[in-house]
């Protein structure tokens, strides 16, 4: 069974209403824009989105805010909900104020660690980040090694949409520069990981020491070329 899909549309065809979807990338870098466009086209409702930045305030034109705008999202777990001038109200904040979208705000490192925990079979962990703030509201606090820490739980998803610079046909992935960011950990945390890739090579075309996401974590690959 080949992992290589001809189109993004085919690759996202089974993402149904109510699915939880992680989306890699940070600002525009490493963002699977072509998969996002295909997902908007397919149009499932009531999605839960896990994504580092969801303010739509960065320079990249195609981001998760296109799903919010299309009314496909019921919940967003994110680190950036507003952006730029503090006076500016983002699409996400507007939707939250209107009661259309629920937002769970998570500190960035905690978000990364919760996703990693989900992929790594860790149920929960204690972190010092967020103690004494709104991020700790309702969470267990415990002193470990003389320091107050809060309990944070793993995050998992049904699908992860990620982007890689290079893939072989087995699904081994290599990222480039700062486009790596959340992609490797999200690849681990979902039942089905779909990677949009700029370059597809034959098996054996990636040095085993160079692989950043081993193929066991990847179910589907769509070669899209270098689309910004």
């Amino acid at each position: 069974m080949s992992k290589v899909f001809e189109s993004c549309a085919e690759a996202v065809a089974d993402i149904e209403d109510g699915a939880t979807v992680m989306v890699g990338g940070f600002t525009g870098r490493g963002t699977p824009s072509q998969l996002l466009l295909a997902l908007r086209e397919k149009g499932p409702k009531n999605l839960a989105i896990v994504r580092n930045d969801a303010s739509g305030g960065w320079k990249n034109p195609i981001d998760v805010d296109i799903l919010i705008e299309a009314g496909m999202v019921r919940k967003v777990i994110t680190c950036f909900a507003v952006f730029g001038s503090p006076k500016k109200v983002s699409l996400l904040e507007r939707a939250a104020m209107d009661g259309l979208v629920e937002v769970e705000l998570v500190p960035q490192g905690t978000l990364a660690e919760r996703i990693r925990a989900g992929g790594a079979g860790i149920g929960a962990f204690y972190t010092p980040v967020g103690v004494g703030t709104e991020a700790a509201a309702g969470k267990e606090v415990r002193v470990i090694g003389g320091r107050e820490m809060i309990l944070e739980h793993a995050l998992k998803a049904d699908f992860s949409l990620i982007k890689a610079h290079r893939a072989d046909t087995l699904g081994n992935l290599v990222y480039r520069m700062s486009a790596r960011n959340f992609n490797p950990i999200m690849a681990m945390a979902s039942r089905t990981t779909i990677a949009e890739v700029e370059n597809l090579v034959d098996v054996g075309g990636i040095d085993p020491d160079e692989v950043m996401t081993p193929c066991v974590f990847v179910r589907r690959i769509v070669p899209t070329g270098k689309v910004a």
Binding site: V82, F83, P86, Q108, G109, A112, S178, R180, N181, I185
Partner: protein, 225 residues
């Protein structure tokens, strides 16, 4: 207030913050104003900048036409990397931060309290804000330096007895560099260390809510302004 003296520019504040970054160190600069600090590292220093989106060794901004679509900092600016740089995923970037491996971070702020509490992620009354990496940096970096204007656009003190804005972290700030003063968070409160050219300690105190400790105030080093 304008009779009190002139507020220092962002670049001059950045130059003053840069003096705090000693010899060999690893530093994360927050999004916005703190990013200016990288322009003012003197020669002979081995300061390596981390960006929480997965870069250790951020270099100057990319020249126009030389931008690489995959290379940007956490503020979405096209940057370069310095020699000896490395890239990593977000989990590892925050292991570095939370694990106490960075010598310092420079963060912007809405408010800092006299106990060193920091508020910089959300405006009061707003439905949402953005944590970014600030909570992680405030909890994890060995030294937290705040760089901010001394007062709000409305002239209200940002250095306060208790933060009225939602907190980023308690008791985390070591040093505050504003456009008129340098203030250290010490065991018994806030110590005024330096005033900017044209400012007296009394004038700084007037724009500051908590009582400043005044022991040995010097003038902002001339090399800075």
């Amino acid at each position: 207030m304008i009779i009190m003296g002139e507020m220092m520019s962002d670049e001059i504040m950045a130059r003053r913050v840069a003096l705090e970054l000693s010899g060999d160190c690893f530093v994360n600069l927050g999004i916005g104003m703190p990013m200016l600090v990288s322009n003012h590292i003197g020669t002979g220093k081995q300061v390596m900048f981390q960006a929480e989106n997965g870069i250790l060794g951020v270099g100057p901004r990319a020249e126009p036409g030389m931008e690489d679509k995959d290379l940007g900092n956490a503020g979405d600016e096209h940057v370069t990397v310095s020699a000896g740089a490395s890239f990593m995923d977000s989990a590892t970037a925050f292991d570095m931060i939370r694990g106490g491996h960075l010598d310092a971070t420079v963060l912007g702020a809405f408010q800092v309290s006299e106990k060193g509490d920091l508020a910089n992620w959300k405006l009061p009354g707003r439905k949402l804000g953005s944590y970014g990496g600030a909570m992680d940096l405030a909890a994890g970096a060995r030294k937290v330096i705040v760089m901010m204007k001394h007062v709000t656009n409305d002239g209200l003190p940002r250095i306060v007895r208790e933060c009225s804005y939602p907190l980023t972290a308690k008791n985390c700030v070591s040093l505050i560099v504003t456009d008129i003063a340098v203030i250290k968070v010490v065991d018994d409160g806030l110590e005024l260390c330096e005033t900017a050219p044209g400012w007296t300690p009394a004038q700084v105190q007037q724009l500051t809510e908590p009582q400043l400790i005044v022991r040995n105030v010097s003038s902002w080093p001339l090399s800075v302004s």
